[in-house]
């Protein structure tokens, strides 16, 4: 079938963020033991409670087994062969962006991240994380005027220690799962956001993660706290250079919303996915979870997952507060030998809580794309509702699309609805569009874009454009 092959060609687009920045870095030696953790903690001049948190997590991690239930086929990871701390060498303290190594700025410039002054007009505050360290955060003064704290987690440990001590690990405990425990033990940096009571964050906040070094893992931690009646929209982007080896990325994201607060967390994940033979690429094992503590609070996850050799990620909501709302909108595109096992958990505990799940999976090549999600109604979640929709699109007859929804209810006065379907880009549809004068390539792009529309509509403006571009990039190029 001619058109089928063309569709396959269209989805294979080379990775354009695969360059390496040649920069002097400070690395510690490979391997993981208590001394490594003490060294990381020392380098970051951390207080004792944090060191204990790390050591406690490490001891728990040692007793845990790497999960194998997702049936992801990958070579066993040698955790002693990873560098757990790597940072670009720079002056002790940066007072302005002018002092950041120009090579770093250039890197982020190439990636399209507005770090430099002239690009600040975009009105998005950015925290840029390069390997293990946050190198710059923009718009801090402007945000501080509104009482918003946006900084790297290392700075927050120093300046807002009480908040860190109170909330770190409160949503994802150190022993939550294998990769969360590993992250809790060795996390290097990440972003911290605090929105005070009654404040609507004046601009979108964003963090950008860049892995540069091939043999170091990236373990960042993000913590966002939205106080009563506050709201924030947070964006996250990721890229990495092309290496033949697999790099481990095990992050933890914790969100907390109090009464009437809302957090919108959007991700465009475009880590290097490995080459066509499946060599190299990032192992993306991430734990993301939000806790709707307050009444009428809301957490909304939206994600566009296009990269990584393996994605293992379930952004979840624990709906504790009365009438709290959880949302999950996801597009996952896999190609070649990529594997994605992603979905969400909506745990309804409080009464009259609501959740919506919309997941779109597109699998091409020899990839495996699985949706795995849990919806749970606790016995006190009276009057709660959930609606889930999981659609898969298959391109070619070698790719797999799986759906594994887990639905559990202990509350008769609640409603759960789940539906899933599978389809492909049919020749009829392609023929119809082409007969209207639309190029083949554009027709495929239009159909994929239409398939993902429900999710793209939920992305913030800045990201919607990027996501569209990203999918278009993966879908355009080789034909025409």
């Amino acid at each position: 079938m001619v058109s089928e092959n063309l569709v396959k060609d269209v989805v294979s687009e080379p990775y354009k963020y695969g360059f390496v920045t040649d920069i002097e870095t400070e690395k510690i030696s490979k391997g993981l033991n208590e001394d490594t953790i003490r060294l990381i903690s020392e380098k970051k001049e951390e207080p004792e409670y944090l060191l204990n948190f790390r050591l406690n997590a490490f001891r728990k991690w040692q007793k845990m087994e790497e999960p194998n239930w997702a049936d992801l086929g990958y070579k066993k990871i040698n955790y002693q062969d990873i560098i757990y701390y790597s940072a670009p060498k720079q002056k002790e303290k940066i007072s302005s962006l002018d002092e950041v190594d120009p090579k770093l700025l250039e890197t982020f410039d190439k990636l399209g991240i507005p770090l430099t002054e002239q690009k600040k007009l975009t009105n998005v505050a950015v925290d840029a994380v390069f390997d293990s360290v946050s190198i710059a955060t923009t718009f801090r003064k402007e945000l501080a005027e509104h009482g918003v704290i946006f900084c790297s987690i290392s700075e927050a440990v120093k300046d807002h220690s009480n908040l860190i001590e109170k909330y770190l690990g409160s949503v994802v405990p150190a022993n939550d799962n294998y990769f969360a425990a590993l992250n809790s033990a060795v996390f290097s940096d990440g972003s911290f956001v605090y929105i005070p009571k009654g404040v609507k964050c004046p601009m979108d906040l964003s963090s950008y993660f860049r892995i540069n070094s091939g043999d170091s893992g990236q373990f960042e931690r993000t913590l966002i706290i939205a106080e009563e009646s506050s709201s924030v929209s947070y964006l996250e982007g990721c890229t990495a250079p092309m290496f033949d080896t697999n790099t481990l990325h095990a992050a933890v994201v914790e969100l907390i919303t109090l009464d009437d607060a809302s957090i919108k967390y959007s991700t465009v994940q475009n880590w290097y996915a490995g080459n066509e033979e499946g060599v190299g690429g990032i192992f993306n094992f991430v734990t993301k979870r939000g806790k709707c503590l307050g009444k009428r609070s809301k957490i909304s996850w939206s994600q566009v997952e296009t990269g990584s050799a393996i994605t293992w990620k379930y952004p979840s909501c624990i709906l504790l507060g009365e009438e709290s709302v959880g949302e999950f909108y996801s597009v996952a595109l896999t190609n070649n030998l990529q594997q994605a096992d992603t979905g969400t958990k909506m745990i309804h505990i409080g009464p009259r809580t609501k959740s919506t799940i919309v997941s779109k999976g597109i699998s091409a090549g020899n990839s495996i794309n699985s949706y795995r999600g849990l919806v749970k109604m606790g016995s006190k979640a009276s009057g709660s509702r959930n609606y889930s929709q999981c659609d898969s699109m298959l391109i070619g007859d070698q790719a797999a699309a799986n759906t594994f929804p887990y639905i559990q209810s202990q509350q008769p006065n609640s409603e759960i609805e789940h539906e899933a379907s599978t389809c492909r880009i049919s020749e009829d549809q392609l023929f119809y569009l082409q007969s209207r004068g639309i190029e083949f390539e554009e027709a495929v792009s239009m159909m994929v874009s239409g398939f993902c529309r429900d999710v793209f509509n939920q992305l913030p403006m800045e990201f919607a454009a990027e996501a569209d571009k990203l999918l278009a990039l993966k879908l355009e190029g080789s034909v025409g």
């Binding site: 239930w69 109604m377 016995s379 898969s392 298959l394 391109i395 070619g396 007859d397 070698q398 790719a399 797999a400 699309a401 799986n402 759906t403 594994f404 929804p405 887990y406 639905i407 559990q408 209810s409 202990q410 509350q411 008769p412 006065n413 609640s414 409603e415 759960i416 609805e417 789940h418 539906e419 899933a420 379907s421 599978t422 389809c423 492909r424």
Partner: protein, 403 residues
Amino acid sequence: MQIIEEIKNNELISNPSEIQKICLDKLKLNPLPNIKSEYWRLSNKSKFSRFLDHSNKNKESKINLPYKKASENIIRLIIGENNSINLEEENYSIKELREIEVVDFIKKNISNVNPNDHWSDLLNHCLSSKENILGLNISGNKIPPLEIFSASSPDSLNAKTLILFFEKNSKVDLLQINQGNENSSLSQSTYFCLEENTSVNHGVVSYGESKSNLLNSLNVMQKAQSEYSLASLHFKLNYARFEISINQLDGNAKTNIKGIQITKNNDQIATYTQMKFNGPNGFLNQINKSLADGKSHAVFEGSIIVPKIAQKTDASQLSRNILLSRHAKIDTKPQLEIIADDVKCKHGATISQLNEEEIFYMRSRGLTLAEASKLQLSSYIQEIISSIPISKDRWDLLDKILK
């Protein structure tokens, strides 16, 4: 878990046959159930262990036939009660399989099964003696309705096996009744092999007395152009597990599955279905319903597997569940695993309570709350049990359930 201990210590069977030996070895390597295995099945180990708490005394099972044989035309068989059958009529024939055929079939089947998925079959073959295996070869298209009974005896664990070969072009209505006695466990394994162009309308009704446990496994192999329809009902069982595995060997076949499980008190009834399409143009329409009351727990897990070869498959699966009590629990997990791209596959699941608007409507017409609820429940159950191949005047199932 007496049985597990006996397996581990080689005390289960004193003089095992060849098949029993193979199964025992496989079971020993795979000492299920454990907490993890049951957790993944959304079940719980302590409830499962109730099933295994009895010893395999192989006592004569006692059956209380639930209704009289309505007409002489019906063929009624009870597994384990030496009622040998050999019918050769003008339009049909029903012949008992020879022992060697049975042994060969079981051996072939267990040699390459995944011991995790077919744990209950392995246990069944370990425990069921020669007398408790019924094998039949059925052919013809004017076969009178068949009724096959299987029962456990009080205070023990019984294992029964049923193997049916349906020859080409045969057409049959078959009702299978599994009856649990007080304080007992029944392991029932059933194999159906459908040749080309056969049509089997299969009903399964399983129920028990107090503390009845059931492990019911059904394996169906369908050749091209065959049609298999199943309607099942499980109720009044302390612990029950219904494992359905259907394989469309060459595709081009039709499968319809309807099932309902009704749990009360502290019951747990679980249905696991696995549907494999090994050829193109397969069709599946499945609906599974649960009704949970008291402190009971109902589980449904259904997986549909569509490999590359199974192009143009059309499969749909629906899980509908009603929770009647605040202490009851329903878990459902409909799964799709798809590689072929030119397919129509969908599934849906809902968990809710009785529809308030409908109840309000009926009450506004003068029905009491109890009557309205009963009426709604009847219609919910009726959708499934109306497909069970038994007439209402032979056995009023709805009446039996609602009582």
